[in-house]
């Protein structure tokens, strides 16, 4: 019960910090967010790393990696 309450409070706290700050950023203000290291995706160099994680662990998906096709049964 306490754990759930903590999670709810944490989500509310994060949302209350992030949502009011969602102002519209102009193109000329995007110097930092357009940096190649800021890409909102896994790195291309992680491609095969994500594949072996998919095979060696039970969970998959949600990270832009492979979700189907191919066996991966070794």
């Amino acid at each position: 019960m306490k754990k759930n309450m903590f999670k709810t409070l944490l989500i509310i706290a994060i949302a209350s910090i992030l949502l009011p700050s969602c102002t519209s950023i102009k193109e000329y203000q995007k110097m930092y967010v357009n940096d190649s290291e800021m890409e909102l995706a896994a790195r291309k160099a992680q491609k095969f790393e994500q594949s072996f994680q998919l095979y060696r662990e039970g969970a998959s998906g949600g990270n832009g990696g492979k979700t189907g096709g191919g066996c991966g049964c070794n």
Partner: protein, 413 residues
């Protein structure tokens, strides 16, 4: 292996040569609409793992495996009369691996055919982007082939950017229709019968066509919302439900039961359906002028009762505008499925059973670094050789499996 490496080098040099022959674009609008190579990416990687819980031998035995993976993708684009951008892509992937555990499908041979295998996976995509509306619509087709496994895939995607490109919603739907040739462990192959007068096929080149084939289909939906929060922070949320149906158990993985009768070993048996629900959150923040924080968290739950948490942290440090080093750490934890038990602990009355430690209760830690070099005038002065990344990760699982992976990524623009 040498032949493969040489082929890839040949492809690589022909790409560089192709770029060097590209004429300088003129400024007329007609020329601007010509189809051009936008990007070529080559990723190559070497993976090595070792452990002692092979599922092929019932949860005990070597898990030694090496995998040499390569992929080459080519992206072309052109603009039409009304300013829409049409993108065409082609990707060719090739993996070759050696697996000591697969070799034990048939332990009577010294080195069986299953010791080494290759996987080919070509794919194509097309998309059209309208910068006026912020809409992108596309589709893709894919194919994958291994010795005993084939997969045909296809998908559609739609992306909408709005709020001055500060917000983006992307929806993707993919389906994979797979076929799996049922190779069984040597001692569990049925005796000769009317169906198999010479005995159950081993899966060798000569008998392969006689093997029964089972389907495995996957349906995947991905919904992603990305938001630029402020000048230094951007976040995304990905929900990616997935349904797998068909042959989900691996036919050559053995399970030993807690009995001494003749029936003490069988092949793995798992349900034929698995709903999966991963939910991922990414957040990237630019601290000061040289340090970036990249974070990813995923919660996962599925129909087999598996729950998992994944946390990835990475901190790229910009040594200068062209060079960055990014140390990284990843933590993973899963509770395991109830169908799992170690060797000789399953009861014959169990409906489903596996001794595959990939489905057991476990946690893993991995750490490493990524070096990215993107010089202004191209790598080694080659104008179109735009970027090179070298990455290393060490992986340690609580079940005593450890792995190392080295990846090299080259980009040409």
């Amino acid at each position: 292996m040498k032949k493969i490496s040489l082929s890839f080098l040949a492809v690589l040099f022909s790409i560089i040569q192709g770029f060097s022959q590209t004429e300088e674009p003129t400024t007329t609008s007609y020329e601007d609409r010509k189809l051009k190579i936008e990007e070529v990416n080559l990723v190559t990687s070497y993976y090595h793992q070792d452990g002692n819980n092979s599922a092929v031998t019932g949860g005990v035995g070597t898990e030694l495996l090496t995998d040499f993976s390569n992929s080459l993708d080519l992206k072309l684009s052109k603009k039409d009369k009304i300013g829409r951008k049409h993108s065409f892509g082609f990707e060719m992937g090739f993996d070759t691996y050696t697996s000591a555990s697969s070799d034990n499908i048939d332990p009577t041979t010294i080195t069986s055919q299953s010791y080494v295998d290759q996987r080919y996976y070509p794919s194509v995509f097309y998309s059209v982007n309208n910068p006026k509306t912020g809409n992108t619509i596309g589709g893709n087709l894919s194919y994958s082939q291994e010795w005993d496994y084939k997969s045909y895939g296809g998908g559609l995607n739609f992306t909408k950017a709005f709020n001055e490109n500060n917000t983006e919603i992307a929806v993707k739907a993919n389906a994979f229709f797979d076929k799996w040739w049922m190779i069984l462990p040597d001692e569990l192959r049925p005796e000769p019968s009317d169906l198999y007068p010479n005995g159950y096929p081993s899966g060798s080149r000569r008998t392969f066509s006689q093997l029964p084939v089972n389907p495995r289909n996957s349906f995947n939906l991905s919904i992603a919302l990305s938001q630029i929060v402020n000048e230094r922070l951007q976040v995304s949320l990905i929900v990616e439900p997935n349904l797998q149906k068909g042959q989900l158990a691996t036919p050559y993985q053995r399970v030993y039961f807690n009995t001494t009768t003749e029936d003490s070993v069988r092949v793995e048996k798992l349900p034929t359906q698995r709903w999966k629900l991963p939910i991922g959150v990414r957040a990237n923040y630019f601290f000061g002028d040289n340090v970036i924080g990249r974070a990813f968290y995923r919660f996962y739950i599925d129909e087999w009762g598996l729950k998992a948490h994944t946390l990835e942290l990475e901190a790229p440090i910009k040594i200068n505008p062209f060079l960055s080093i990014a140390p990284s750490y990843r933590y993973y934890r899963q509770n395991g499925v109830s169908y799992f038990a170690p060797k000789s602990q399953h009861k014959l009355t169990n409906e489903f059973y596996t001794s595959d430690y990939d489905l057991s209760k476990l946690q893993s830690h991995s750490f490493g670094a990524n070096i990215r070099w993107k010089p202004l005038n191209g790598v080694l002065g080659m104008k179109h050789f735009s970027k090179i990344e070298l990455r290393y990760q060490h992986y340690q699982r609580s079940t005593a499996l450890s792995a190392n992976i080295v990846s090299l990524y080259l980009q040409f623009q």
